[in-house]
Structures are given as structure tokens and as C-alpha cells.
């Protein structure tokens, strides 16, 4: 067992984990933060995307011990209390999900992607969001929601 400290959604957690525990399983099974989803456990679907020190990462491809001391933001930490993040509001408004299972990953990934500042056009946003799969086919709604926020139309 290794003792690690994770700052998740501005709360400090000290936990004992074996080195083989992924960050994803540490969040879901140990910290009970099940908003972060497991869709493939192989870095292929993006459902487990979280923000680590502000950068989007696949939590299934990170071991928890590798993130000792890191600041993690999961989907549970995106809203400001009861006030939803503009992207969360835009997802609801644009019906950017059906089953909702890929949604936390899409939202965390989009926040990370926008912060990277590389995407200028809709096509570039689509390309840079393509690591996040959606099986319901809500693709157009997801990109519409992201574009609305990117272009500053995010509703307060």
C-alpha cells in the first residue's frame, strides 16, 4: 500500500492504494466519485476524462499513485455549487446527450480542450473532441453546445 494525497474538486483526500489501482478506480471505488465513467478501461472511449492540474487526461490510463499531489477536477467539481457551468447548461439546452454515460467525459474534455486554445473552428473542435465517443449519436448536440460556449454565448 502506498499513501497518496489527491486534491479532488478542491478537497484533499489521503488514501492508501496499491500501485495497480487506476486513478479512475480510485475515484469511483475509493472516493465514491462515480460521475467519472468507465466505458472501456483502455483509453479508447474518453468516458473517464478528468482534468488533472487543468489538463484533460484519461483517468483509466493513469495509476492513482502517479497523480500523488495532483489537483483533479471531476464532473462533480465543474459546477459552482448549485450554479451550473455554462457548458453544463449548454449541454442541457442543446440536448447534447441521451443516455448520459459519456457526458461527464465530454464535459471535462471540452473544458480542457477550450483551455488548450488550439481549436479555432468547428471542424477543429470536432477533431479535438474525437477522443470522446458517444454511442447514442448526440454528436451534433455536443459540438453545438461546445461551440456556443466557445463563442461566448454561454448563458449565465
Amino acid at each position: 500500500m502506498t499513501t497518496i494525497t489527491l486534491n479532488v474538486n478542491k478537497q484533499t483526500h489521503t488514501l492508501e492504494v496499491l500501485p495497480w489501482v487506476s486513478l479512475l478506480d480510485a475515484l469511483r471505488d475509493r472516493l465514491k466519485l462515480t460521475g467519472t465513467k468507465k466505458g472501456c478501461d483502455h483509453g479508447q472511449c474518453g468516458a473517464c476524462t478528468v482534468l488533472c492540474d487543468g489538463t484533460r487526461i484519461l483517468s483509466c490510463l493513469s495509476l492513482a499513485v502517479m497523480k500523488n499531489g495532483s489537483e483533479i477536477t471531476t464532473v462533480e467539481g465543474i459546477a459552482d455549487g448549485d450554479a451550473l457551468h455554462p457548458l453544463q447548461k449548454a449541454f442541457i439546452e442543446h440536448d447534447a446527450f441521451q443516455c448520459g454515460y459519456c457526458t461527464p467525459g465530454q464535459i471535462c474534455s471540452a473544458i480542457g480542450m477550450l483551455a488548450e486554445g488550439k481549436a479555432r473552428t468547428r471542424d477543429e473542435v470536432k477533431e479535438l473532441m474525437s477522443g470522446n465517443l458517444c454511442r447514442c449519436g448526440a454528436n451534433t448536440g455536443i459540438i453545438d453546445a461546445i461551440m456556443e460556449v466557445k463563442e461566448g454565448g454561454g448563458r449565465e
Binding site: 460521475g35 462533480e76 441521451q98 443516455c99 461527464p104 470536432k126 449519436g137 451534433t140
Partner: protein
């Protein structure tokens, strides 16, 4: 007092906030104490038997609690009948861990139970299994000669065999001036919902279980568990309030449910079993299929002869069948028809309904053949459909309850700009890309199942609606809330739709595009009964002004009942409940299709899809640059969620035509791309403009709500429209799906 009707409004998903904040809980996410984690061990051969099983090393590992195999499994029901669920095809249900026989590659052979997930997963690799192998067959194409009639059973009611031939097909086909003879091949596809299949079984003691399961049918799985494990129905509660997609894969109880419950009862502990993505491939799937179509037309472009022969795969133990062969005759009149449907048993797991089962397979072949025949006859493909337009169902002569397909064609063609199309293949070019326009027709049955709902008026004058139905992302929660609100004249804020729980009144599994009609009608019936009850209770209030009022004399709005002729005379629901001793007023009722009346009609939804593709001249890569689908599905309760259903199935159509396939190695008898990196579905960059149009289709016959369902109709026309567009761009008819660039090289 006026409130806007909720039905017809683009209401945002009511559970939206839960989904965007991560608060929505799926089957593997319930925090229960002292949880054991189960991990499945899978057979690595395709057919044969287990000769030796050694669980010693696994059991010796610290943290491992037990390993269950066919050698030590606890007692379960032995009668095959006990395993039959509501969607079971004819045959014998596969029972995991029953005997040493291996019937398909990846079959579960052991369940490891440990105190944590990582230990269970690691220990699964320590279980030693030796096999004696036997020869097997998994490739449909090599076994077409073994095709036979499907067995019949309970599910045959919903999926009847093809109708008898009409006229003389062979002669008519021979004598017609224009004809097409084409073969179509589809590989298998897997549903691959984003959520991994999972069950969390809570062992409550005294033979009682609470089960959080990934399923489309809470009651179906409740009955399955009770029957198989000899428990009382009322002691088994299956909950599935959030389901991370299913697309048919959750219609039947899956093996993680069986294993989780078996372990929980055996160890008297709470047990969670989550399948890995790879473990969701030796699993239900859309079957491989072979189709041969021979269609002919006369000099005027009227269809004269249609033959559709379809052969699909099934397992060695169940006869899974689909309706494939006869769809063309529900769309187009033809005096000479011959429809055939056969099965081949292979050493694979039983296929299962996957979004638009049968229809998605058939319509690709039918609508590509129609396109080809239109070219043979020198008629525009849209004009060809219009010349063969059926005002009544050609296969039965019965009228449709409604059919706005013509409006779909016209509006979608106009929106798309079909008239700009130069019919010459390869004639339209955009830079280095060949541009193709293709169109196709879609049809799907409008189903309705019997369903029960409970409606309750609370002390605050609000309404609660209870149903066992699930919402797998379809929008059922939102749509049912809208329906219920309108029925009682309440704003949607005052209605709570409570669902996804087998303890609540009966609902079939969510499937077949049937839920809005099924649950919706049950709500209509229950609210009607509730209104009578509210009047009766109001009359019992001393000096009630409703004393002489009959059911037709009162109306309901904003939580009040009032006299139609004297609206100022009213009583609030809260007052009625108070007069009822504070006890909520409630009723449970069943809604059912009007079978007798509807026997005289055909009930179908229709669609028309128009697609533009670009094909790179050098690399032959194919992109769907834009698509327009017009859908006639009766009344649209919620245009926002319905649009998502259609747009989502258009993405499925793009996926079926250009991306997804389960690649089977017939030498190994297993799927080679059992992961989301190699099982390709469209990513955001693959999806461009998708436009959805709902035709104005009023249907007063079909059911109380005039709805037909929108789960599958958006998918069926898309693959053919894309294949036809690829032909228009390149002059090449590719009749195998998916169409990858290499097929155009």
C-alpha cells in the same frame, strides 16, 4: 387560468442536471457496504469441453473469497422453462456455469469474487482451464447451404415468418424489361453501449434481493431472477433508473446479472459484477446476414416482381429470428412476390435485437435494389419511389392508420436540394472530391405493448406517476411527464414521473420504439380513472357544489377541478385529498392497444433520407457531408428529444454504412476487434450536418395519443441512402457493409 400544453413543446431532459453533474447513478455505481467484486473468466476456445479446472492459485490469493465454476456452483433451477425471459427466442436458454460444455468463444466459465476489483481481475488470470476442442463453424457465408426454417415460439408473434408468395415471381421476373439481381452481405455488429454491463446485487437476507442492473426491462429481469433462483417475485426488486445506453442489448437478462445474483445468494454478501468491454463481445449482437434480391419493373417503371431471400445467423441453442424479407411489400405494390427467411446455426452466442432489428438489414438491401432498378429503367430514384407509392398496405390491402411518407419525400428533397442532382454517376465534383447524392425510404412498425401505471394525487395537489419502465436515453422520463401533465391539466413542474423500478406497475422492456405509445396510453387511461375518483371524493365533501355533477360536467386545470358550465365553482386537489382524510387519491390502470379495431389497419412509421457524400478521388475515403431525414411518426410529444432520437439513429446509419463491424475470424471462431479502438463507431469528426424534419402526421386511429415511436425509424433509410450516394459519386455498387475506402480502390 391557462396553461400551455406540454405535449409538443421542446422540453429539455428533466434529468439533465443529474447527467451533466455526474449525479446520475448507473448500475455499477451504488455505494453498498461490504461489497464483493466479481470478475468473469472466459473460455478461450470456441467449441469443446472443459477437461480440467484449477482454481487453487486464484483462491490462495489474499483477498479472494471464492471462485465459482460449473464444478462447485450453487443449486439453480434445472428446468429450462424457468430461464425463459419475455424476449427469449425459441430454443434453450444458455445457462452459464452449468456444465463443462463450451458452446461459443468467450463463454463465461468461472466467476472470481474478491474484496476489491483489482484482486478479482488479477485472480481471474490465475484460474487454470484446460479444454478438449471440437470443430466449429462461425462463418455464415460458408454455411449458406445449411439454411433452414426458423423454429417457432412465443416471440414468433412479434416476428412472424414471411407471408406466402403471390402471383408467379419467376415468370414475371423473366418477362419484365427492367430487372436487378443483387446479393448483399452484412457482418455482425455489437451494440456497444458506452456503459459496461453491470449488476450490483444487494443481499437483504431472508431470500430478499435488491438489484441495480443494466437492463431495458426491470420486470423482465425480476421475473428471470425469481424463476431461476427460486425466490418469491415480491422479494426480488430490480432497479434501473439510469441506463447508459443499450440499443437492444438490455432486452434480455445478461449473464453478469445471473452471476452476480448467484454469488450474492451463495456467499450471502453484496456482489457487483462489471463486464469489461472485451467481455461484451461474446454477447448478443446483430447477426451476420446474406440477402439476395431480385426486383423487376415494367416499361412504365411500375414494380412487377419482388423476391427477397434472407439468411441470418443464430446460435446452436436458440433460434433468434428477425423480420427481414417482407418489408418491401409494405412499401411498394407488386403483383408477384416471393419472400424467404432462413437461419443457419453457428457456434456463436445467440444474436439479439439491435436498433431497428431486421429493418436496418432489410432496408439497406431493398432501397439499394430500388436505386439500381431506377437506374436500369432510366427514372430518377425519387420519381421511381413516387411511381410505386402505396396509398394502402400492398401486402395486406389494409389502409394505414396514417401515412405521410409523400410529405417526407417532398420536404426532405426540397430541403436537401435533390433537384440539383445530375443523375450521371461521377458527374458532380468538388475540388478533389467526387460528390454523390443518394436517397432511400424507411419504414418501421408502430408497436404498442400493454402497460400499467399508477397515478397519485398528493396532499400538496401534485401528481406522481409510477411505472416500471426504463429510460435508456430515449427521453421517456421527460416525455411521460409531459403526457401526464397535459392529461390532468397540470404544469410539468407539478408532475413527478417515477420509473425504472420493478416494484412499480408493469411495463414491458423498453424496445421496438413502443414505449411512448405503451406507457403514454397507460397514463391516459389511469388519469381518466383518476378524474372520476377525484369527482367522487369531491362529492363526499359536505355541501359540495359538485353534488350533481357527472364525469362530463367537470374539467381539470392547474390542480383544480371545476364545473365546465360554471368555472368559478372549483375545488383544489389539495382540498379533495384533505377531505379524503389526508390520504392521497390514487388509482392503477392498464392501457392496451385497441387490437380489434386496429386489426383492420397497418400501423407503420415512415421516413425518407437524403444524403450527400464526398469521396476523395485518390484515397477513396468517404465522408457523409450532410444528411436530411424526414420522419412521419404521428404526433411528436417532444421535438427536442425526438430530434435527438432521429439524429442519433442517423449517426447509427452512418456507422452501419461506413464504420462499424465485428470482425470474425472463422479459423479462431472469435471476434478480433473486441474493443472500442478497433470496433469503429463515428467520432465527432465523422459527423457533419444532420437535419431532421417531422412530417405533420395526424393519426386518430393508432392510439389515444396519436404517437408511433421514434427509436428506430431514423436509422433504417440511412445505410441505403449512403450506399446509393457512394454509387452516384463513384459509379460503384458496393453491396457489403460497411463500405470502407479499400472497397473503392
Amino acid at each position: 387560468m391557462k396553461i400551455q400544453s406540454a405535449v409538443g413543446q421542446p422540453v429539455s431532459r428533466l434529468e439533465g442536471k443529474l447527467k451533466v453533474t455526474g449525479a446520475a447513478k448507473y448500475a455499477a455505481e451504488y455505494d453498498v457496504p461490504d461489497l464483493l467484486y466479481g470478475y468473469v473468466v472466459h473460455a478461450t476456445i470456441t467449441k469443446g469441453r472443459i477437461t480440467r479446472l484449477d482454481t487453487g492459485a486464484a483462491k490462495a490469493l489474499q483477498g479472494v473469497v471464492d471462485v465459482i465454476t460449473h464444478e462447485n456452483r450453487p443449486e439453480v433451477a434445472s428446468a429450462d422453462l424457468k430461464y425463459i425471459d419475455m424476449d427469449a427466442p425459441p430454443g434453450l436458454v444458455f445457462k452459464p456455469l452449468t456444465d463443462p460444455e463450451v458452446r461459443y468463444n468467450g463463454q463465461p466459465v468461472a466467476l472470481v469474487l474478491a474484496e476489491d476489483f483489482e484482486t478479482a481481475r488479477y485472480a481471474s488470470g490465475l484460474v487454470e482451464v484446460e479444454y478438449e476442442t471440437q470443430a466449429f463453424e462461425t462463418c455464415l457465408d460458408h454455411n449458406l447451404d445449411n439454411a433452414r426454417e426458423p423454429g417457432k415460439g412465443f416471440s414468433t408473434m412479434l416476428k412472424p415468418p414471411p407471408p406466402k408468395p403471390t402471383g408467379n415471381f419467376e415468370q414475371a421476373f423473366r418477362d419484365s424489361p427492367f430487372k436487378v439481381d443483387a446479393e448483399f452481405r452484412h457482418g455482425s455488429e455489437h451494440h456497444n453501449p458506452m456503459e459496461l454491463f453491470a449488476t450490483t446485487t444487494v443481499y437483504e437476507g431472508d431470500g430478499k434481493l435488491t438489484i441495480y442492473d443494466k437492463t431495458q426491462g426491470t420486470v423482465n429481469n425480476q421475473l428471470f431472477v425469481a424463476n431461476v433462483f427460486g425466490l418469491r417475485y415480491e422479494d426480488v426488486r430490480v432497479l434501473a433508473p439510469f441506463v447508459g445506453g443499450a440499443f437492444g442489448s438490455g432486452l434480455r437478462p445478461q449473464y453478469q446479472l445471473y452471476l452476480s445474483v448467484m454469488a450474492a445468494l451463495h456467499l450471502k454478501r453484496n456482489v457487483r459484477v462489471v463486464l469489461s468491454r472485451k467481455q461484451m463481445f461474446p454477447f448478443p449482437h446483430r447477426p451476420q446476414s446474406y440477402q439476395r434480391l431480385r426486383f423487376a419493373a415494367d416499361a412504365n417503371g411500375s414494380l412487377t416482381a419482388m423476391n427477397h431471400r434472407a439468411i441470418s445467423e443464430t446460435s446452436q441453442f436458440e433460434d433468434y429470428a428477425e423480420v427481414v424479407a417482407e418489408w418491401s411489400h409494405k412499401l411498394y405494390p407488386s403483383p408477384n412476390t416471393l419472400f424467404e427467411y432462413k437461419l443457419v446455426s453457428l457456434d456463436l452466442y445467440t444474436p439479439m435485437d439491435m436498433r431497428a432489428p431486421g429493418g436496418a438489414t432489410a432496408l439497406h438491401a431493398i432501397e439499394c435494389t430500388m436505386d439500381e432498378l431506377a437506374y436500369e429503367a432510366g427514372i430518377d430514384p425519387l420519381e421511381f419511389r413516387l411511381r410505386n407509392y402505396a396509398e394502402t398496405d400492398p401486402s395486406t390491402g389494409k389502409p394505414f392508420t396514417s401515412k405521410a411518407l409523400r410529405e417526407c419525400y417532398m420536404r426532405a428533397a426540397e430541403q436537401f436540394g435533390w433537384k440539383e442532382r445530375n443523375p450521371e454517376p461521377g458527374s458532380m465534383v468538388r475540388g478533389n472530391k467526387l460528390v454523390g447524392y443518394g436517397m432511400a425510404t424507411g419504414i418501421w412498425d408502430a408497436y404498442q405493448f400493454p402497460a400499467r401505471t399508477e397515478v397519485i394525487i398528493t396532499g400538496e395537489g401534485k401528481m406522481i406517476v409510477n411505472s416500471a419502465v426504463t429510460d435508456i436515453g430515449t427521453g421517456t422520463l421527460t416525455v411521460m411527464t409531459q403526457v401526464a401533465a397535459d392529461e390532468l391539466g397540470l404544469p410539468i413542474e407539478d408532475v413527478t414521473f417515477s420509473y425504472g423500478d420493478s416494484k412499480k406497475p408493469f411495463s414491458m422492456f423498453q424496445g421496438g420504439s413502443a414505449m411512448t405509445a405503451s406507457t403514454g396510453v397507460a397514463i391516459v387511461v389511469a388519469v381518466k380513472a383518476l378524474k372520476k375518483k377525484l369527482l367522487k371524493k369531491a362529492k363526499s365533501i359536505a355541501g359540495s357544489p359538485f353534488d350533481r355533477a357527472g364525469n362530463d360536467d367537470v374539467a381539470f386545470k392547474y390542480g383544480h377541478m371545476f364545473l365546465r358550465k360554471q368555472p368559478s365553482v372549483s375545488v383544489s386537489f389539495a382540498e379533495i385529498v384533505a377531505a379524503n382524510g389526508g390520504k392521497p387519491v390514487k388509482t392503477t390502470n392498464m392501457g392496451a392497444p385497441h387490437v380489434l379495431k386496429l386489426r383492420k389497419y397497418t400501423k407503420s412509421s415512415h421516413s425518407a433520407a437524403f444524403v450527400e457524400v464526398e469521396v476523395d478521388k485518390d484515397l477513396k475515403t468517404i465522408t457523409v457531408t450532410r444528411a436530411v431525414s424526414a420522419v412521419a411518426a404521428g404526433r411528436i410529444v417532444n421535438p427536442k428529444t425526438a430530434r435527438s432520437q432521429i439524429a442519433g439513429s442517423m449517426v447509427w446509419g452512418i456507422s452501419k454504412a461506413l464504420h462499424e463491424e465485428s470482425i470474425l475470424d472463422e479459423n479462431l471462431g472469435k471476434y478480433m476487434n473486441a474493443n472500442l479502438g478497433e470496433y469503429h463507431i463515428p467520432v465527432h469528426a465523422d459527423i457533419n450536418e444532420l437535419e431532421v424534419i417531422f412530417a405533420d402526421e395526424r393519426d386518430d386511429l393508432i392510439n389515444e395519443l396519436g404517437v408511433k415511436g421514434v427509436g428506430e425509424i431514423g436509422l433504417v433509410a440511412m445505410p441505403a441512402a449512403i450506399a446509393n450516394a457512394v454509387f452516384h459519386a463513384t459509379g460503384r455498387r458496393i453491396r457489403e457493409l460497411p463500405i470502407h475506402f479499400d472497397k473503392l480502390l
